[in-house]
C-alpha cells in the first residue's frame, strides 16, 4: 500500500491513503487531542479541539483527509492556547460540577482540562439554565453537562436505523433532544453503550451509579492521550 509522507511539528511521519490527519498522527505515536470524535463513528468536527495548523490554515484534524507532504503544527503554544480556550468555553457554556458527577474520572472533558492544566477559565461562567430530563425508563439526560458532540446522535439508533437522539434549536439554544417513544425501547445494553459513548456525564444510565469508585477510573489511572503518545522525555 502506498504511503503518504507528512510531518507533525517537524517530526517525519507516514500515513495511509484515506486516513484523516488525526488517525495518521495517532499511528505515528502523535496524540492530537480530540473530544467529539469517537473511534468508529463519523467525525463531526464540532468541538474543534483537534484543530491543527497546516500552511497557516486552521483545520480539524478529525475531518481533514491526510495529503502528501503537509507540514502539520500540533503543539505550537498559540495553537495549544486556542485549544485550551475551546475547553474553557465548554466549561463556562454549561454547568460542570466535577466533584458530584458520576462521570468524574471517566470524563474526557475533565481529562482534557487536566491535560491543559486549566485552573480558572479565562471566560466568565454563563450559568445557563438547563434541565435534567428522564429519557425513557433506562436513561437520564443532564443537559447541564452536554457539550453537543453528536456522539449519541450518531451512535444510538433503533434496529431500523432511526435516531433516538437528535439536535434541536440553533445558536446557544441548541440542545440534544430525544425521541421518547424510541428511547423507551432501548435495551439495557444500548442504554449502557449510550452512557459509555457520552464523553461527559450528560447521558446517565438509571439505577446504577458510582459502581467504580472515583480514584480508580480510566483517567485516574493514566492521563488522556497516554495510550497514543510516545512518552515525552
Amino acid at each position: 500500500m502506498s504511503k503518504i509522507k507528512f510531518s507533525v511539528d517537524g517530526r517525519e511521519c507516514f500515513g495511509k491513503p484515506g486516513q484523516t490527519i488525526l488517525e495518521a498522527a495517532r499511528d505515528n505515536g502523535v496524540y492530537i487531542p480530540s473530544l467529539c470524535r469517537y473511534e468508529g463513528l463519523k467525525p463531526t468536527g464540532s468541538c474543534r479541539i483537534c484543530t491543527v495548523r497546516v500552511g497557516g490554515r486552521y483545520m480539524a484534524a478529525c475531518t481533514q483527509p491526510l495529503s502528501e507532504g503537509i507540514t502539520v503544527e500540533n503543539t505550537a503554544p498559540d495553537l495549544e492556547d486556542m485549544r485550551r480556550a475551546m475547553i474553557e468555553m465548554l466549561f463556562v457554556g454549561g454547568n460542570h460540577m466535577c466533584p458530584t458527577c458520576e462521570k468524574s474520572g471517566n470524563c474526557e472533558l475533565q481529562a482534557l482540562a487536566y491535560r491543559y492544566q486549566m485552573l480558572v477559565p479565562r471566560f466568565p461562567y454563563q450559568f445557563p439554565l438547563r434541565t435534567i430530563d428522564p429519557t425513557g425508563p433506562k436513561l437520564l439526560v443532564d443537559h447541564n453537562r452536554c457539550i453537543k458532540c453528536h456522539r449519541c446522535v450518531a451512535m444510538v439508533k433503533t434496529k431500523d436505523g432511526k435516531s433516538v437522539f437528535g439536535p434541536l434549536y440553533r445558536s446557544k439554544r441548541k440542545k440534544i433532544g430525544a425521541d421518547l417513544t424510541l428511547a423507551a425501547g432501548l435495551t439495557d445494553d444500548q442504554a449502557k453503550k449510550a452512557m459509555d459513548h457520552c464523553p461527559v456525564g450528560a447521558i446517565l444510565k438509571k439505577e446504577i451509579g458510582f459502581a467504580v469508585p472515583i480514584g480508580r477510573r480510566t483517567y485516574d489511572k493514566a492521563p488522556i492521550g497516554s495510550d497514543v503518545e510516545t512518552p515525552r522525555t
Binding site: 468536527g45 475551546m86 454563563q126 432511526k162 446557544k172 425521541d179
Partner: protein
C-alpha cells in the same frame, strides 16, 4: 381546535421522501399557524423519520414555531438600517396597536409579533413580513392602519395599498417593494434577450463553455470569490452523474438585496445562466434555493420557468440541441442566514437542518444528495450567461485585472439614494458615496457584518477582490450614529444565526459580545482590549464554517480602524474595574423580603 382533518389532507398532498420535509413544515406552519407536537409525530411517521429528526428541523428555522405565530404573523426586521430608519417607533406602534409585546401573540391568537434578521429590504426600511407579504417604509401611522385591517379580518395581501415599480406590479407578485435600481450597468442590469446566451452555448462543446468562463476570470459573486470556471470544471470532471446546478438565492448578509432585484426583473437571465451551467457540467437538473423572505416572488418565478419551457429554453432538446435536457425546480428555505453557506444550503435543500458540512469533500464532489453539485450565486450565474453571449474578452475589459467585470452593490443606510448600483470593480468608496449621496459618512460597512468597517480616512480604498471584497452589502454609517450600536446589532445577529454546531461559534460569540459590553459600558481596562482581540482571533481560527470565521469581524475591524473609540471607553490608569453590581445582586432579595435596597445592603 382539532387539527386532525386538515393535517391529514395536507400531508397527503406531499410525498414520503424526507428531502421534502421543509416544504411539508412550511405548509403545516401556513395552515395551522404553528407546528404542534401531533404534526411532528404524524410527519415523522409518514416520512419514516424519528420525531426528534422532524423536531430538529422544525426548531432550526426561524419561520417555524412550536406555539401559534398568530393568524397574522408579523416579522419585523431588526437590521441596523431598520434601526436607523425609525424601527423603534414602528415596533412600539405595533405593540400598542396589537396589544402584545414582541415575542408574544395576542390572547385571541389574532396577531403575533416577532423579530427577524434582515429580510432584504434595506433600501426601504423599516420593513416587515406579515404572513409572507412584504410591507416596506413603515411608520407608526401606517402600522395603526395595518393592525386595524388585521382586526377587521382583511386578507393580508389586501393590506398592500400600492405596488412598487417594474415586475413588482405583476399580477403574480403585487408587492409594495421598489426595485430602486439607481445605476444600471453593462453586465447584469442591461437589456438581455432571453435565449441569446444559451443558443450560442449549445453550439459549443461543454468543455469550450467552461474554458470561456475560465478565460473571463469570473469570480464567485457571493463574496468568497472562487473562480467559477474552475468550479464548473471540477464538478464536470466528477465521474458519477447525475450532477446538479444549484443557484444560491439565499442572500442573507444584512444589507444585501441585489438578488431580490435580479429575481424580480431578470429571472430569465438567472435561469439561462443555470441552464448554461447545466450544459457545461453535464447536469439535467437545477435547483433554485430561494430564501423564505423572497417567497413572495415564487409564483412569478414558476411562471417564468413555464414560459421558458414553452420556448424550448428549458426541458428537452433545449435551443434545438439534441440530447441536452435541463429543468429547474424551486426550493424554499425557512429562515436561516447560515443556509447561504453552500454546504448548509445543500443540507437545507435536502430537507434537513441547515448546518454546514465538513469540507472537504466539497459540493462539487459531494453535493445535493451526495452527488456532484455546483453551487453558484445568483449574480454569478447571470454574469456567466452574459459572458457566453458577449465573450470573455468583452467581460475582461470591465473592472480591474484581478477583479474582472462588474458588481451589483446594495447600498443602504445614511445616504440619500439607497438602492442597487452596478459598478465596475475598482470603484472607490468615495466615488460610491458621491453617487449614493452619503458623502458625510463616518464609516462604511463593506460586505455586511461579516465584512469590514471602513473608516473615513480610508475612503479611497477600492471595491474588488484585491482590496475590499464584498458580496454586495454596503451600509453607509452617518456621522450622527454611535458606531458601537452598529457593532452590537451585528454581534447579536451572529449570535442568533449561529447554527450551534461548533464550540467556538456557539459559545464564543456570546462571550465576545459580553466583553464588548464590558468595554463599551466603561468597565473595561486595557487588558480587556487585548483580550477581546485575542478572543476574536481564536473564534475565527477555531470555527468550522464561514459564519464563525467572520463573526468577530464587526469587533475586530472596528478595533483596527476605530481604535480611538475603544480607547476612549477604557480607563488607562486602572488595572481592574469591578463589574459586580451590588444593587442588581440584592434587588430580587429585597423585593422578596419587602426591604428597601438600602436595608437589603445592610446600610
Amino acid at each position: 381546535m382539532s387539527t386532525k382533518a386538515p393535517l391529514d389532507s395536507l400531508l397527503a398532498r406531499h410525498g414520503k421522501d424526507p428531502s421534502g420535509l421543509i416544504e411539508i413544515l412550511r405548509d403545516v406552519q401556513a395552515a395551522l399557524g404553528s407546528i404542534p407536537p401531533e404534526a411532528v409525530a404524524k410527519i415523522a411517521a409518514r416520512l419514516g423519520l424519528s420525531r426528534v429528526d422532524v423536531e430538529g428541523v422544525a426548531t432550526f428555522y426561524h419561520f417555524f414555531t412550536a406555539r401559534p405565530a398568530g393568524t397574522y404573523a408579523v416579522y419585523l426586521n431588526k437590521n441596523v438600517v431598520a434601526e436607523m430608519k425609525g424601527r423603534a417607533e414602528v415596533a412600539r406602534a405595533f405593540e400598542k396597536a396589537a396589544g402584545c409585546r414582541f415575542g408574544e401573540t395576542t390572547a385571541d391568537g389574532l396577531i403575533g409579533l416577532h423579530e427577524t434578521s434582515c429580510i432584504g429590504m434595506n433600501d426601504q426600511e423599516p420593513s416587515a413580513l406579515i404572513n409572507g407579504v412584504v410591507f416596506t417604509r413603515l411608520t407608526p401611522a401606517r402600522v395603526r392602519e395595518l393592525v386595524a385591517g388585521m382586526k377587521a379580518g382583511k386578507e393580508t395581501g389586501k393590506l398592500v395599498k400600492k405596488t412598487g415599480d417594474g415586475a413588482n406590479q405583476s399580477r403574480l407578485v403585487r408587492a409594495m417593494v421598489d426595485n430602486n435600481i439607481r445605476k444600471p450597468g453593462p453586465v447584469i442590469l442591461a437589456p438581455f434577450k432571453s435565449g441569446a446566451a444559451v443558443r450560442k452555448a449549445v453550439t459549443w462543446t461543454p468543455e469550450d463553455v467552461v474554458a470561456e468562463i475560465k478565460r473571463s476570470n469570473l469570480l464567485g459573486r457571493g463574496g468568497a470569490g472562487f473562480p467559477t470556471g474552475l468550479k464548473w470544471e471540477f464538478c464536470g470532471r466528477e465521474a458519477c452523474p447525475p450532477r446538479y446546478v444549484v443557484a444560491n438565492a439565499d442572500e442573507g448578509e444584512p444589507g444585501t438585496f441585489k438578488d431580490r432585484v435580479i429575481l424580480t426583473e431578470l429571472p430569465h437571465l438567472l435561469f439561462e445562466g443555470m441552464t448554461i451551467a447545466g450544459y457545461a457540467i453535464g447536469a439535467r437538473e437545477g435547483i433554485l434555493y430561494l430564501r423564505a423572505e423572497y417567497a413572495y416572488l415564487k409564483p412569478r418565478l414558476e411562471k417564468v420557468l413555464a414560459d421558458l419551457r414553452a420556448q424550448k429554453l428549458l426541458g428537452k432538446a433545449i435551443a434545438g440541441k439534441k440530447g441536452f435536457a435541463f429543468d429547474i425546480t424551486i426550493k424554499l428555505g425557512a429562515g436561516a442566514y447560515v443556509c447561504g453557506e453552500e454546504s448548509a444550503l445543500l443540507e437545507s435543500a435536502e430537507g434537513k437542518r441547515g448546518a454546514p458540512r465538513p469540507r472537504p469533500p466539497f459540493p462539487v464532489q459531494n453535493g445535493y444528495l451526495g452527488l456532484p453539485t455546483t453551487v453558484n450565486n445568483v449574480e454569478t450565474l447571470c454574469a456567466a450567461a452574459r459572458i457566453l453571449e458577449r465573450g470573455a474578452g468583452w467581460f475582461k475589459t470591465l473592472g480591474t485585472p484581478k477583479s474582472a467585470g462588474t458588481k451589483l452593490l446594495s447600498v443602504s443606510g445614511d445616504c440619500r439614494k439607497p438602492g442597487v448600483y452596478e459598478v465596475e470593480f475598482g470603484l472607490t468608496i468615495n466615488r460610491l458615496l458621491e453617487m449614493a449621496g452619503g458623502r458625510d459618512a463616518q464609516a462604511v460597512q463593506v460586505g455586511g457584518p461579516s465584512g469590514t468597517c471602513v473608516a473615513r480616512g480610508q475612503f479611497e480604498r477600492r471595491i474588488g477582490f484585491e482590496d475590499l471584497p464584498t458580496g454586495g452589502s454596503i451600509i453607509v454609517i452617518g456621522p450622527q450614529r454611535d458606531l458601537f450600536d452598529v457593532v452590537r446589532n451585528f454581534m447579536d445577529f451572529f449570535i442568533e444565526e449561529s447554527c450551534g454546531w461548533c464550540t467556538a461559534c456557539r459559545v464564543g460569540n456570546t462571550l465576545l459580545r459580553q466583553k464588548f459590553e464590558k468595554i463599551t459600558s466603561g468597565k473595561g481596562t486595557r487588558q480587556d482590549l487585548k483580550e477581546i482581540e485575542a478572543w476574536g482571533k481564536t473564534i475565527k481560527a477555531m470555527s468550522r464554517c464561514g459564519l464563525g470565521q467572520t463573526s468577530p469581524n464587526p469587533i475586530l475591524t472596528t478595533l483596527l480602524n476605530f481604535r480611538e473609540k475603544y480607547e476612549a471607553r477604557v480607563d488607562a490608569t486602572r488595572d481592574y474595574v469591578s463589574t459586580f453590581d451590588l444593587e442588581a445582586a440584592v434587588r430580587d432579595a429585597a423585593a422578596v423580603t419587602g426591604q428597601t435596597l438600602a436595608e437589603a445592603r445592610h446600610e
